[in-house]
Symmetry: C2
Subunit: 332 residues, 2 copies
């Protein structure tokens, strides 16, 4: 008899996420009904948005209830199928949650092409984070050769891809990351032109010096004090794709942005987006990204935690900025 | 001998503008040189941006130096001309400053067509504020019939025009203003569907109730706490033209915007703009606005202070929200 392992939301975090906000339960795996599929999750993606879903109320999607399985995308393998569209051994990604097994009618699954790269990459560079980077950089940022692009959380899954995509389009790319180790990775391995450590004392001064004549595009997954430092450095008609505010997620009190006046003075456009709105563009994005990986034009890194019981720690680490590249959990 | 009267910046305001930040001087009028024009200013426009120019440093244009004539647009009459393009009696607007007389080579002047309306309207509905409302509403807001539009500072020169333009395009328009008198004006005279007093205790709750299903366009000249109340009420793909942050201008400490995360969750675009960037569109805007005034489709109001020595008080009043409609000064 297969036993399922599930990580549930046990309590809403009070500021930072704690282990006591989760509970791990074991139960019998349900049987798939007519038209359904039983999947075994192989990899779980750990992403900043999960922190938002742990709160009360709703954001752009409904938040979790206490006792719900934690939300998350996985790479999964079909192990039993009562659905003619899927056969045993097929690989797919979907929002199947923090659990070892899941049942689906197939409607929430996206089939994986294993020839495009390691299957786990479908949670990172070939999945939601990579596609977010592609869309925000190209469709909102609209980079022109010679422009200056600044990337918040440059060593993360989204930022590392966004900066490399901007480089491919002829931009000068400056990353922002926390700590020397990450900054070295961003310059030496990802090929950014520079990376500014936001933990240094005069961060705003160092950023201003690095950008020189000003910022044309700021790819923002961070918000907070970093956005406040960026706004006065923007050039006329700068674009800021907004897709995350990780600086605020784990705080009780949100940061107040004081430099929004610069968005007027510098004619800046800030545009919030949610990548799931743009499903029609995913195939084009994946084709681009897979091509760039295959040719070596862009690279990516994963931080892998071993075992589903390590998922809470992986999320805690991510929110503290502990990961380099895409944070995933390998599920036994 | 003609005597000029000038209002100079005497000191930089420490927070709120005070009378001691200005000095009034009298001097002989200079003579126009070859190709130049001597103009007598008839009306001075009082606008929120002036407060920004009184600060140290620079914004989107250079700020004033201590001792400079205060910056401002006027309606002026040519009284002597050594420039073949202008003859005595011609009327023009230009950034000629807080003074009774000014000399120009003509390059900074825009000719007035007195058939379009009272000449003072070229400082309001037919000038920078009206054109700002036209551009922000139509080019950034892009209103569709049936959409819900919220207007900050709805009784002011820009807001009153923006809301009426949105009404003309079939929108439901909700104003925000300070105090019952202004709110009555906005509904009864300007024809907005509702107006919310931002001085009431539960302003955010009252606004939420008035907007119902959510905001499609927020025309922002205010920033601050009102923008923070608006962001969570935005519908998906809402547009926010940003052209002023009057809430901050007169403060020492700027307000920190805490709800920018809602711009992601609600897929909001915030776009800063400066109307002087779009000079090529001014003739089209003035044609539209003059037509709407002539047909009675839109209306406007002026608050007129008498005498150049009243200009400092007029700016102080404006920044405190004392005016209804366009604040101007009639220069003797």
């Amino acid at each position: 008899m297969l036993r399922n392992l599930k990580v549930l939301l046990a309590a809403r975090p009070n500021g930072s996420v704690a282990h006591t906000d989760f509970s791990i339960v074991e139960e019998e795996v349900a049987r798939p009904g007519a038209g359904e599929i039983l999947l075994r999750n192989r990899y779980l993606s750990i992403d900043p948005y999960m922190r938002v879903r742990m709160n009360e109320g709703r954001s752009y999607a409904a938040n979790l209830a206490i006792g719900d399985v934690m939300v998350g995308d996985t790479v999964a393998e079909v192990i039993q199928s009562l659905n003619p569209e899927f056969k045993v051994g097929d690989l797919a990604t979907g929002r199947l949650g923090w659990q070892r097994f899941a049942i689906s009618d197939g409607s929430n699954l996206r089939r994986i092409d294993p020839s495009l790269g390691p299957v786990s990459a479908n949670l990172g560079i070939l999945g939601m984070p990579g596609i977010t980077a592609w869309y925000g950089t190209l469709k909102i940022g609209r980079p022109a050769a010679g422009e200056t692009v600044v990337i918040g959380a440059a060593s993360g899954a989204v930022g590392s891809a966004a900066g490399q995509i901007a480089k491919l389009h002829g931009c000068r790319v400056i990353g922002i990351a926390g700590g020397e180790r990450k900054c070295r990775h961003v310059v030496d391995e990802l090929g950014f032109d520079a990376c500014i450590d936001h933990r240094q004392q005069d961060f705003a001064g160092a950023l201003a010096k690095a950008v020189g004549a000003g910022i044309d595009i700021y790819f923002d997954t961070v918000g907070g004090a970093i956005l406040d430092a960026v706004l006065p450095l923007c050039k006329p008609n700068a674009r800021i794709p907004l897709c995350g505010m990780i600086a605020d997620y784990d705080s009780i009190e949100r940061y107040g942005i004081k430099n929004l006046y610069s968005a007027i003075a510098n004619r800046v456009t800030l545009q919030g987006f949610i990548i799931s709105d743009h499903a029609e563009l995913w195939p084009a994005a994946v084709t681009d990204l897979a091509g760039w990986i295959a040719s070596g034009a862009i690279t990516y890194r994963e931080t892998v935690a071993q075992g589903l019981d390590q998922a809470p720690q992986a999320l805690i680490d991510l929110l503290r900025g502990g990961n380099v590249g895409k944070q995933i959990v390998k599920i036994d």
